[in-house]
């Protein structure tokens, strides 16, 4: 689904409203937001404004980092939840939450005969159904869901294109079958399977899956005396229609004391990964895959342990950057800012990273603080990473950096897995079993790389153009 849709825009609008209240010091007014969004006699999106208001309440709970599933008292107010959020120090797993009130409990049926069915004489759908699942009812074909095995043959046969495939979007998007229905048809996530790729969240047309944001935690610290470090993912380029120098400046205006490009960590990752690759190839290993995409490494851990020995042991750019930041500013809190859901999970397990903000959350903070990035002065970038490090966020960028690091010492036959899907995961599994023609595999869970991640603000096409511009001058 295109990232510009109502679910996304409402989420951002709420982020801005929440941040504004915290900045103004009147968070207790949060109870009014659902009423302001859907005032008396306004037009409802769902069945009625009361349902709309309830969903807004749960969205705000998620935006304040709460797990909606854990609600025990429906009378507990948003301001009470805000109070809890303002007073916590710890970030907890899991990083996602499903708003069951928002989940539309989509019908499981996959193939469906629409009214376009002409009840034709040839009846190829019926004649070719191997399971005898199609009957004629009132002059139109009807599929018996008890008998249908979702082979899709009827859809291909219908000369009128009257049969459609109707997926459950979140389940369809999940590459590892981690999201399924409970007894009421509402979706739930199995965290023993979930790889935090964020695809379900992006694809749900009802916006029922949300991240548990750390916006409150970070904003609270930004407004305090605490020293804060922003570690900005290279994918931030192109997200604000402004040069990197201005983004750095905007971050400082927001309250960060120092800003470090994660591309510096990417340089370290590339260097280590190149050395590791040379060593592995000299030891006649079949191939090596990248390790920087956390949704991919989580997939390997939870679903394909046989692939684990092929995954590079090199830490991620975020980890290295966190390490550098800790050495330089030991008393500061370190906030990773990127386009990724899975990084939130990675950060919980990484002592070098305290918090994660998404680019979307950062954008909302800028708007709430009335900071226009373009209007900021150019800030000086203290440590400039290499062009290769800054090129990590677009698919192929990591391979490019590795080639640069290996510098012809061994031959590289590279292969790109651009986007994790059921299909590409099968492909990877096959590689683990019988090898491949390549010896280096870059894996990106998001098609196009991090620059098309689930939490970006910018159309990837537009962002890629700006990235190219930055690389040209790096």
């Amino acid at each position: 689904m295109n990232y510009v849709n109502n679910a996304t825009l409402i989420r951002r609008d709420l982020m801005i409203k929440l941040a504004k209240l915290i900045m103004a010091g009147n968070i207790e007014n949060i109870n009014r937001i659902p009423l302001e969004m859907f005032p008396k006699r306004s037009k409802s999106v769902r069945c009625c404004i009361h349902k709309d208001r309830a969903v807004i309440k749960y969205r705000l709970m998620a935006l304040m980092g709460h797990r909606v599933e854990e609600e025990t008292d429906e009378l507990k107010t948003l301001s009470a939840y805000a109070n809890d959020a303002m007073n916590r120090d710890e970030i907890e797993n899991p990083i996602l939450t499903v708003i069951d009130e928002a989940c539309s409990a989509c019908v499981q049926t996959s193939y469906f005969v629409t009214n376009a069915c002409q009840g034709c004489m040839a009846r190829p759908c019926m004649m070719n159904c191997k399971k005898n699942a199609i009957k004629m009812v009132n002059g139109q074909a009807r599929i018996d869901p008890e008998l249908c095995v979702n082979c899709g043959l009827c859809l291909k046969e219908c000369p009128y294109h009257a049969i459609i495939y109707m997926p459950v979007p979140c389940e369809e998007a999940c590459p590892v079958d981690a999201i399924t229905k409970d007894e009421d048809g509402k979706e739930q996530i199995d965290y023993d399977k979930c790889t935090f790729c964020g695809k379900c969240m992006r694809e749900c047309p009802f916006g029922a899956i949300m991240e548990r944001s750390q916006l409150v935690d970070v904003l609270k610290l930004l407004l305090s005396e605490q020293k804060m470090i922003a570690m900005i993912a290279p994918a931030i380029v192109g997200q604000f229609s402004a040069e990197l120098e201005k983004i750095v400046s905007a971050l400082k205006t927001l309250g960060f004391d120092h800003v470090i490009e994660v591309a510096l960590g990417a340089d370290m990752t590339a260097e280590h990964e190149a050395a590791e690759f040379i060593e592995r190839m000299e030891n006649n290993e079949k191939f090596m895959t990248t390790s920087c995409c956390p949704a991919y490494t989580e997939s390997v851990k939870k679903h394909f342990p046989e692939l684990a020995k092929y995954v590079s042991d090199t830490p991620t750019p975020m980890h290295y950057t966190g390490q550098v930041a800790k050495e330089k500013y030991p008393d500061a809190k370190r906030v990773f800012i990127g386009p990724c859901v899975a990084k939130r999970n990675e950060a919980i397990e990484d002592d070098f990273v305290d918090y994660v903000l998404t680019i979307e959350e950062l954008g909302s903070l800028f708007v709430a603080a009335d900071i226009d990035v373009q209007k900021c002065e150019d800030a000086e970038i203290e440590h400039v990473p290499s062009r290769e490090g800054r090129g990590f966020p677009a698919s192929g960028g990591v391979t490019n950096a590795l080639k640069h690091g290996v510098d012809g010492k061994v031959e590289i036959h590279d292969y790109l897995v651009d986007g994790l899907t059921k299909k590409s995961l099968r492909e990877l599994k096959k590689m683990a079993k019988s090898g491949c023609d390549c010896n280096f595999v870059e894996v990106m869970a998001c098609e196009g790389g991090c620059i098309s991640g689930p939490d970006v603000l910018s159309n990837p096409k537009v962002a890629n153009k700006m990235l190219a511009k930055l690389l040209e001058r790096s």
């Binding site: 295109n2 510009v4 825009l9 604000f240 229609s241 954008g363 800028f366 373009q374």
Partner: protein, 85 residues
């Protein structure tokens, strides 16, 4: 024939509300008049600070401000301008 001038606000508030999409307007203009439309990006036009102007993102077509702009909305307006001619 004068060109139609489209100004796309690329300020932060507009970008956060999906404004970057508008920068691909060029790819979506109908061929019949694509060469008669001039598109430019602008820094924050400050419309987001004026509640009466509506909500971000903003696009200005020949001086007319379109709020909550998206590509179909902008194309619709441009098409109507050409139809008037």
């Amino acid at each position: 024939m004068e060109k139609i001038k489209v100004v796309i606000c690329t300020g932060t508030a507009c970008f956060v509300m999906g404004g970057s999409e508008l920068l691909t307007l060029d790819d979506h203009l109908p061929e019949m008049y694509a060469d008669r439309v001039e598109i430019e990006g602008a820094g924050c036009l400050d419309y987001c600070k004026d509640l009466e102007k509506g909500k971000s993102p903003f696009v200005v077509v020949n001086g007319h401000v379109i709020s909550e702009a998206n590509i179909p909305k902008v194309i619709d307006y441009i098409t109507r301008l050409f139809e008037k001619e």
